[in-house]
């Protein structure tokens, strides 16, 4: 059964089903009215007639729309290539084809098949004529098309294909398709794999791929497209495989463009950072305690600085994720004091090198919480990092955690620095906002609080600040006990595979530091 037949059959089935449903509704309504309402048979029949008229109107409209849209596209395609038509008309928008990609590319293949069969028995003059009309047809289809022989060499490529790749048509002919189209597929099911499979086994077959990436040499931007391929072993001229490309560069590259720029930047930052951390560790192992106290403290400061940079790089990445709606959190059952203490340990050195003590007051009877361990630790780090930055001359930061009146686990970070003017408190959790008084004295990007708020919100918790100029600030946030969270999201469970932005290991609890 060929594809067009399949397409028609689908429509016949749809038509029958809608007629059946329509009739069932009418019969049902007649039955109900006669049975339960005291309306005469005459009135009932009138109502039924009106109803059936209305229903058939709707179904007819719906079906005819679906049925005629390919015809409309076809009409536009014909007008588009017609040289005698006095008004230039645009090519049909192939993305709107309700007919489906498969059918379009298969129709093209069928045309090739017909032309090839005709060519077989044709005279020389007829052959030239057929070839000309076939080329004319292919050149005016607004899609890149490649025709391949049994060795995957390009036998024909239309003008659009040449334009799409930025290569002359003549430079494409007889080249191997894989040297011309360097394609990356999102899954293992690639074009060459498919072709190998069908070659041994079937007379003809077709397949579609979405989100294919074309790696082009040099300065050319990356292209993305959907690919449709048709294989037919029986073509008399040996035109076995026909490829049709549906360009989606704009749509697909937008999806990850902003994140990919950030990802690249982050990569460039992380590589030297990896080395820096590595060498600092070597120095620490070899020289710690053997140097004079000043040099010892320099070592600590180097370590603290590289940790700070690591945290900042993660902040950039996570803000990009939040902005692109790509933040992925996995809320799991965790022991809160363990999570919190681990985060504080991480930043302890950073506080120590500034002679600031981190005081912990963590309740021992806290219920287990439902959090994404790494993200929530990032919140803790950001809040403590802020407290360190804004501590000025005060030498202590208090971190408290307890169960609040609403049954949520509440954590606060209190510094005794200069505090925040009331007028700007409401702007603190927006991106890039920093206290203007401190801008000259305090580094930072103002991403931390914005990110923290996004993470806490995703945890269904709250984040807030109390501050008084001159007295310091208290930043606090709450997270839900796991029990509470799982009541709301019933299918939460601890997975074997613990995933995070920074790493995972199979069948093993997550490890960091």
């Amino acid at each position: 059964m060929d594809d067009f037949q399949r397409y028609l059959n689908k429509f016949k089935i749809r038509l029958l089903v809608s007629l059946l449903i329509e009739n069932l509704i009418i019969v049902g309504l007649i039955y109900l009215t006669v049975h339960y309402l005291n309306i005469g048979l005459k009135e009932t029949l009138i109502i039924a007639c009106l109803l059936s008229f209305f229903l058939s109107l709707v179904t007819t409209l719906m079906l005819s729309n679906g049925l005629t849209s390919p015809l409309k596209q076809l009409r536009q395609a014909i007008l588009h290539i017609s040289p005698s038509y006095n008004q230039p008309i645009g090519a049909p928008d192939t993305n709107k084809l309700t007919l489906g990609r498969e059918l379009v590319s298969n129709l093209i293949s069928q045309l090739y098949q017909i032309a090839s069969v005709a060519n077989k028995n044709a005279t020389e003059i007829e052959k030239t004529k057929y070839d000309l009309s076939r080329d004319f047809m292919a050149n005016n289809i607004p899609l890149p098309i490649f025709v391949l022989d049994n060795n995957e060499n390009i036998k024909f490529a239309n003008k659009i294909a040449a334009q799409y790749l930025g290569i002359e048509v003549n430079d494409l002919i007889n080249k191997n398709i894989y040297t011309i189209l360097d394609m990356s597929f999102p899954t293992n099911n690639t074009f060459d794999y498919w072709l190998k499979e069908v070659k041994g086994n079937t007379a003809n077959s077709s397949n579609q791929w979405e989100r294919v990436k074309l790696n082009i040499r040099d300065q050319h931007p990356t292209l993305y497209f959907d690919l449709s391929a048709y294989y037919n072993v029986g073509n008399p001229e040996g035109y076995c495989t026909i490829l049709t490309l549906f360009d989606h560069t704009k749509q697909y590259s937008q999806d990850d463009q902003s994140i990919s720029f950030v990802a690249l930047t982050v990569h460039e930052l992380r590589t030297p950072l990896t080395l820096l951390k590595g060498y600092v560790e070597v120095f620490n192992q070899e020289f710690k305690g053997k140097l004079n106290p000043e040099m010892d403290s320099f070592l600590d400061k180097m370590r603290a600085s590289s940790d700070q940079l690591t945290a900042f790089v993660n902040n950039i990445l996570n803000v990009a994720r939040v902005d692109n709606d790509q933040m992925e959190l996995k809320l799991q059952k965790e022991n809160w004091s363990e999570v919190l203490n681990q985060a504080i340990d991480t930043i302890d050195l950073r506080a120590k090198v500034r002679n600031i003590a981190l005081e912990r007051d963590i309740a021992t009877d806290l219920p287990e919480v439902g959090v994404d361990r790494l993200s929530i630790q990032e919140v803790v780090l950001n809040l403590i990092d802020n407290a360190i930055k804004y501590s000025n001359d005060s030498k202590v930061i208090k971190i408290k955690s307890s169960l609040n009146g609403e049954g949520l686990v509440e954590t606060t970070v209190q510094d005794f620095g200069r505090g925040i003017p009331e007028s700007i408190i409401s702007k603190l959790f927006t991106k890039f906002y920093r206290d203007h008084h401190n801008r000259a004295q305090v580094g930072g990007t103002g991403l931390g609080l914005y990110l923290s708020k996004a993470i806490i919100t995703a945890h269904q918790g709250n984040i807030w600040v109390h501050s008084k100029e001159g007295d310091g600030s208290i930043f606090g946030f709450s997270v839900l006990p796991f029990e509470k969270l799982s009541q709301e999201q019933k299918n939460l469970s601890n997975d074997d595979l613990v995933r995070s932005a920074h790493g995972w290991i199979k069948n093993h609890s997550y490890y960091r530091r």
Partner: protein
């Protein structure tokens, strides 16, 4: 590492020379036998000919991408004798589809900048062979 434990053999596929150097130092200190290879094709040959317990695989390497190499390492027809645990080491954030692929094929995944060499060794010590 405890003395009675067997020495673990590890293949580090990493093209940043200094990182290879740092990892070798840390791994040697903990009793690992280390070989560093910077090239994808060479690394594949090595993995096919010699026995390793663990393979650290950077994703950005010359001649074969880390993902391509991972595919081959997981293909029983091409590397029938391979028993090593494959841990991806990278500094590049992956797209969702690549992440899913790595999750299904690799035994572990780490961001290099997140761990110092000694922390990496601790991480590797936890892997059950």
């Amino acid at each position: 590492m405890e003395e009675n434990k067997e020495i673990r053999k590890i293949l580090v596929i990493e093209d940043e020379h200094f990182i290879g150097e740092l990892y070798t130092r840390a791994l040697n200190k903990s009793g690992y036998e280390v070989k560093v290879i910077a090239d994808g094709v060479e690394a594949l040959k090595e993995a096919q000919t010699d026995y390793y317990d663990i393979i650290l695989l950077d994703l950005m390497i010359p001649n074969l991408t880390g993902i391509e190499l991972l595919d081959i390492l997981r293909d029983k027809t091409k590397t029938p004798h391979l028993r090593a645990k494959v841990i991806i080491t990278t500094n590049l954030e992956q797209r969702e589809d690549v992440k899913t692929k790595i999750e299904s094929q690799a035994d572990g995944y780490i961001i290099k900048a997140e761990l110092t060499p000694m922390e990496l060794v601790e991480f590797l010590n936890k892997i059950k062979l």
